[in-house]
Symmetry: D4
Subunit: 251 residues, 8 copies
Amino acid sequence: MKRSDLRALLGRVRRGKISPARAAREIGEAPIEELAFATLDHQRALRVGFPEVVFGQGKSPAQLVAIAARLYRRSGLVLATRVDEAGCAALRSEFPEAEVHERARAVVLRRGRAARPRGRVLVVCAGTADLPVAEEARVTARTMGSRVELIADVGVAGLHRLLAHRRRLRGARVIVVAAGLEGALPSVVGGLTDRPVIAVPTSVGYGAHFRGLAPLLAMLNSCAAGVTVVNVDNGFGAGYAAHLINTAGGR
Amino acid sequence: MKRSDLRALLGRVRRGKISPARAAREIGEAPIEELAFATLDHQRALRVGFPEVVFGQGKSPAQLVAIAARLYRRSGLVLATRVDEAGCAALRSEFPEAEVHERARAVVLRRGRAARPRGRVLVVCAGTADLPVAEEARVTARTMGSRVELIADVGVAGLHRLLAHRRRLRGARVIVVAAGLEGALPSVVGGLTDRPVIAVPTSVGYGAHFRGLAPLLAMLNSCAAGVTVVNVDNGFGAGYAAHLINTAGGR
Amino acid sequence: MKRSDLRALLGRVRRGKISPARAAREIGEAPIEELAFATLDHQRALRVGFPEVVFGQGKSPAQLVAIAARLYRRSGLVLATRVDEAGCAALRSEFPEAEVHERARAVVLRRGRAARPRGRVLVVCAGTADLPVAEEARVTARTMGSRVELIADVGVAGLHRLLAHRRRLRGARVIVVAAGLEGALPSVVGGLTDRPVIAVPTSVGYGAHFRGLAPLLAMLNSCAAGVTVVNVDNGFGAGYAAHLINTAGGR
Amino acid sequence: MKRSDLRALLGRVRRGKISPARAAREIGEAPIEELAFATLDHQRALRVGFPEVVFGQGKSPAQLVAIAARLYRRSGLVLATRVDEAGCAALRSEFPEAEVHERARAVVLRRGRAARPRGRVLVVCAGTADLPVAEEARVTARTMGSRVELIADVGVAGLHRLLAHRRRLRGARVIVVAAGLEGALPSVVGGLTDRPVIAVPTSVGYGAHFRGLAPLLAMLNSCAAGVTVVNVDNGFGAGYAAHLINTAGGR
Amino acid sequence: MKRSDLRALLGRVRRGKISPARAAREIGEAPIEELAFATLDHQRALRVGFPEVVFGQGKSPAQLVAIAARLYRRSGLVLATRVDEAGCAALRSEFPEAEVHERARAVVLRRGRAARPRGRVLVVCAGTADLPVAEEARVTARTMGSRVELIADVGVAGLHRLLAHRRRLRGARVIVVAAGLEGALPSVVGGLTDRPVIAVPTSVGYGAHFRGLAPLLAMLNSCAAGVTVVNVDNGFGAGYAAHLINTAGGR
Amino acid sequence: MKRSDLRALLGRVRRGKISPARAAREIGEAPIEELAFATLDHQRALRVGFPEVVFGQGKSPAQLVAIAARLYRRSGLVLATRVDEAGCAALRSEFPEAEVHERARAVVLRRGRAARPRGRVLVVCAGTADLPVAEEARVTARTMGSRVELIADVGVAGLHRLLAHRRRLRGARVIVVAAGLEGALPSVVGGLTDRPVIAVPTSVGYGAHFRGLAPLLAMLNSCAAGVTVVNVDNGFGAGYAAHLINTAGGR
Amino acid sequence: MKRSDLRALLGRVRRGKISPARAAREIGEAPIEELAFATLDHQRALRVGFPEVVFGQGKSPAQLVAIAARLYRRSGLVLATRVDEAGCAALRSEFPEAEVHERARAVVLRRGRAARPRGRVLVVCAGTADLPVAEEARVTARTMGSRVELIADVGVAGLHRLLAHRRRLRGARVIVVAAGLEGALPSVVGGLTDRPVIAVPTSVGYGAHFRGLAPLLAMLNSCAAGVTVVNVDNGFGAGYAAHLINTAGGR
Amino acid sequence: MKRSDLRALLGRVRRGKISPARAAREIGEAPIEELAFATLDHQRALRVGFPEVVFGQGKSPAQLVAIAARLYRRSGLVLATRVDEAGCAALRSEFPEAEVHERARAVVLRRGRAARPRGRVLVVCAGTADLPVAEEARVTARTMGSRVELIADVGVAGLHRLLAHRRRLRGARVIVVAAGLEGALPSVVGGLTDRPVIAVPTSVGYGAHFRGLAPLLAMLNSCAAGVTVVNVDNGFGAGYAAHLINTAGGR
């Protein structure tokens, strides 16, 4: 039952065409969810800067273009993640205005200018091999509307590189830390700041790494309070949550 | 917004006290779920024979009695599972009419006589050590209203014991099979009948059994089609699903 | 010992050619299984609508065609699952009447018209990526003789899409729910209906998903009673069990 | 090298007692960390409302009292978690002003009045068995200075209970969701709101639950964006991170 | 259908009371297994020296005595494994002739004298902590009728102790090797002999031993051909299989 | 120290060129193993029918031919396992007399005629997909000198096929059972015979099969005594152990 | 063949009582290991400072005393690890000179004065809960003859505490690092020094820690080169290896 | 703050341009790490023989050449590991002086002559399939400056091959042992020597080997004291640690 249907029904109640009791019964029996969720969905549509998201993995270039085109018409802001080279080329060819983030394997389509970024999200990664995941987090949070900085290659076996950035750690509202191998970086970062830390284990490693299980377990057992964790290689999820946190206090 | 509130609001629309537009807005903003779910809950309440269920594990005898008493007042039919000896004693002492099923570690409270059991559920178990789980399935399905038979101790290493019951296997509408160790029985039973089989791995075993993981995996990989699986030692879940299947076709 | 041999032996008893004692001994020593299982196999052969099944994975197009041809001759109804593109093409070319279900990766060969579908199986899946598994379940149950409906893309992060279908959930005799990622959908569906639910975890996910382990464990621990589980991606098994349940009460 | 030492050295440079080159060398060789970290530690000490934390598990009542007393003298605000009954009694007897949160197994010692709580953290849990973990999160965030609300027993098998609280979900800055069994609640909550969600798997379950592994994997694979995860039963960590997020935007 | 029933039926065929066709149908429909399996069971009953076996774990002393008494009456030879101290005492008190093997936690009841042991089984164990498992294997094989020798404490970190027994290794028909920790002994033994080796991983170890998983995996991956494996701590199973192998060639 | 060196040394003792004390010291300090192991190695060389074995996996056709040629010269009997198509072709081209077992992926080179096979090994497999593993076992045991029979496609979901072979089960000295999926077949076979059973889990399956883990665990937990287990897909190991058992009693 | 037997044999060769050829054969056939290993064992006995070791876990006080007494008589230096309170008391009562290390749960018996410690082993641990493991490493290495220092409670979430000890890190020959939770400390220490680091994961943690699995995997994946790992809680093994390394270069 | 900046600041203090107090504050607030870590990094640069290391896996030939060239300019000694064939060719073409170690998949670039190797590292491996890992360890330790010997193919199933090398085992300062399959070799080697042993599990195996998990667990549970472990296939890490140990005592 759409809002217009409801209003029509109530008009009939007003005009005495239908009794209140029967109207109540009709409302109660309608697939009332449309009503119940209308507000929510409308709200979502109104949130400037929340992009439509396409998970590109396993999709052909043609599928990618088709899906992106449909979403783009609707919302004017689309983020495609896990897009391979062919997919990037296809999107760029179809949408000349597309921002292609190669290392992040992400593409952004945007109508009009981006709003001024808000707050401050810091993305940190342990090794250069973790960069694609860190970049995915950066692009995601930035596309949603956050100001984002990225510090790369500050692994725990060379602490001085990390310590040199201590001020930037403290200047962020939320910090995303991507690390493979033993996944120790989030604990060290968490000990240097009192900001919330989102840890992203990456699949960078071999042998008893089990494709990310080692850093995942390490991060879940972090000795630093304030650390929460997302799935292995889930840069998108980390960037998304970071944006929500970054802007949570602003309302 | 309860149905009475809705009806009052509609009365005010009828009387011109409030415009249809504003009423529509109020309805749209109300915590409309009460309406949306009213039907469902009412339906549930009407289903004769569906007991209220208490998971007894980790509850003290006093807690058990208190919870059971409250539910008993409401519905007249209560099933308590995973009740230890002290809990059984407490329930029996408080409710002299309680049926105590010791091996199943289950207690049933019922006001009035049980309805005549319907259909036919067959519960089969591999070894005597699996009996508590099989009994829990039996008591659950029976309390919900199914006719249930139990065949015990028909492990796959002594096939003739199982084959002797082949007619009963074919006479059931659904078969629950509980087995520990290697969990092979559901596959063998599934090959002897075309009825749906619900497999329950039990934690009976040691070493590389990993408290039920071995038969759980075995059952998920059954070579016999028509086999579905529930959690380790989950006799309750198997009995519950068996009753639903046993009575599914009757409507 | 075939039935004809047995009858011949008994004729010799009748004619006094052989003593009852010796005949009894011969019967007891014969590979008596042929007798013991004759009924069963005969029954199976008589069940209209039960297809012969070919598991296509790892088979070449030529092997597929050869196996399917042999079974088709025997029974007139063949279901091939997990058939890749080349296999589909080969079967279609050999059997022009073949129904090819591309998304389900399944092919059905049928002599004559299908019987009218019975009962009602509902197949639900969480995301579009789960569709191949859901379709495999749908085609399996349909080929066996069930009436089947399919609802796609009703994940738990957008509840209103699921709630909009609540009436269809209640109108089914059994519901198959396929879901990857966290595998939460069967619990939510199970809470909205009192029909048996067969949960199928899919391998859709990455990282700590472990190719379906995450939703498999989730489904085995479902808080909704009445949920049973099959192996990861086992749409065939779910559809097969669903058909058995759908028709179990009809006899 | 303490700040006073450094200042004395510089005074000697000023007075010409020592050359700048040599002073530079001395500074470079000193265990300079004391300087480097002084600011950080001082800052920490100044943060009003951040309690000293005692992990009570495995500590005797006497040890608990001794540790708590020392920290209490220093900071005036102590939070002890995972305190068993004997520990609670000992702390209450030693510090009559102690707030004892029995269900959370937590004790708070506070000198003076608590500051007015800020922002809004919402803690939600699926079943009553998850309450101790949810309470630990609530007490932690509250003790740190957040305003906290708690909604209990809104499992996904009874969605209407959760939907009835939808407004409160949207009114929070951050939501903590504790759930055992299949751990589906965070996904459903995440789909109803755009606030960051911290998921806490609990060890409530049995069999293929593996003491929290099932909901942990489910939560890491949540289909709802914006969900991050902490360790099994880690209510403290969730509450701590929630407080950081709740107050992150306020600066 | 018992053999006597069959014979009676055939008598009626002989006397013309019943037609061969109808008799054939009756035989075909009877629960014919009793016939099919009669030979097998009788054979089993005739095998001298095969004891009835009681798995003592989880059984009370009273239950043990009751079960053992029943089996003892039937067969005159009973082996009870995994019997705790109380169980041993109870059995000894009830059956003064009982042999109690304390380290093996096993009890043997035997009427009459044991037959002369046959062949030669060698049981080897790595450390003294593995002795209970090795002893269980020894007692099992001995009770079944094999001649058994035991060599203890010949771990791989002290090879000379093992090498000193090389001749005995070669003199056995089959060798059982029990080892915990890294489970390397079966490979080393397998390299010193061409006899079949049955490896028994034990739960002796800690940490990354996972209660026997480490030696279990090691043994399954043995670089020495001719090694087969049984479940963790399954001394009974190893001894049983060793006896079968020891006497396999004798027929 | 070779035997010739030792003899020379003793000659010098005899001739008084060196004192017994010093000779004893030299012998004690020599790398005496060559002596210690001489017997063993000589014995091995003398065992007619024991082939040299090449594990073909990961080896190029050229490597295979080179290794096989060297071993063939030495012993006149070579078994190569896990040889891919190209490897088979290369071996056949180099050694026209090679027996190529395609399904087993094995090649045998033999100079002269094979000895008459001894004893009786029975190899049984559950499904046609398990045949390559079963064949590897068959070829291995046969090449070593055992008489071997193979029964294929007797899965537990169709028991009558297995029961029809019951006499052959009892006629073997040792039985190898290969099975994937749930791995139930060894338990059923073990219950029908009193011969030692070697179970080989295969990697045939998908999803929660974990490439053979499911049947491996099942087989380790077999309820039938007398069952031992080898590694997943290790048909070679099973055949090797079966031959040792088959001939163990003959000496 | 003992050395004296060999010398006697050679004497007979000298005296012409036996031919060199026959003597060579006798030597070759003797259980020659006694010779082969004599040197090794003698060497071991001569190594001053290498204690006899008793693994105390699972041993009664009486057993402990008996074993220790026997070893003490033989070598004059005994180390008992994993001794519980009762065991410590028993050993102290029997051997008044015993050094009891309560936190390490270790007892040392020593006749005469300890030799002057050599080299320098540094033991570092992350939290106070890891101290028992660190202490076990310290006592082990010290008892074997190494000079050992211990730095406690320098977790990675408070880097400044660790950095303050940087000079001591560089002054050691080998460093043992014990850590539970996420096990990050060895990587950080490894990055601050070029000495070999032995990492000991401890079982300190809960939930997804899996009793030490999390830090074990983390340590195996350390991004710092030069880190090797021992079993969970294996302080003894770490201290033993550290001593060997500490003194390896001294010869 | 670089050292030159610090010196300039101190000059201003000397000249009275700035007060000591303010200078102290500036020093305290500077990113003081540059100072704190200067010594360390300088030290590292001075250590002759420590190569720069490139992890070649996943890098294109062009990337490899570019990275190696940059490092080579800086340090004159570069070690590239896990380089595939194309990478080896590219490096050899760019740097004609490159040492290419094909089996080790490693390339060394060195300006000038290598220093004379020190100490003695022994690398041992079980089978030829483990050789690449053993070679990687050998090349790594050798490139860092150690003298290294390699013994190949001394698996535990043929002990005499290992025992023949016992003297070389005792002549090393540290021993690296690489083994796949059951990983038993480190325990046997550890029992034959009192030198520190570094165990490297390899991924050589199949089935229940789980790509190196089996030998990893075995090695962590070694019954021989003095054994430490690195990650699966981590020959580099083992060689690196071995070099550190080999030269630890030399200072």
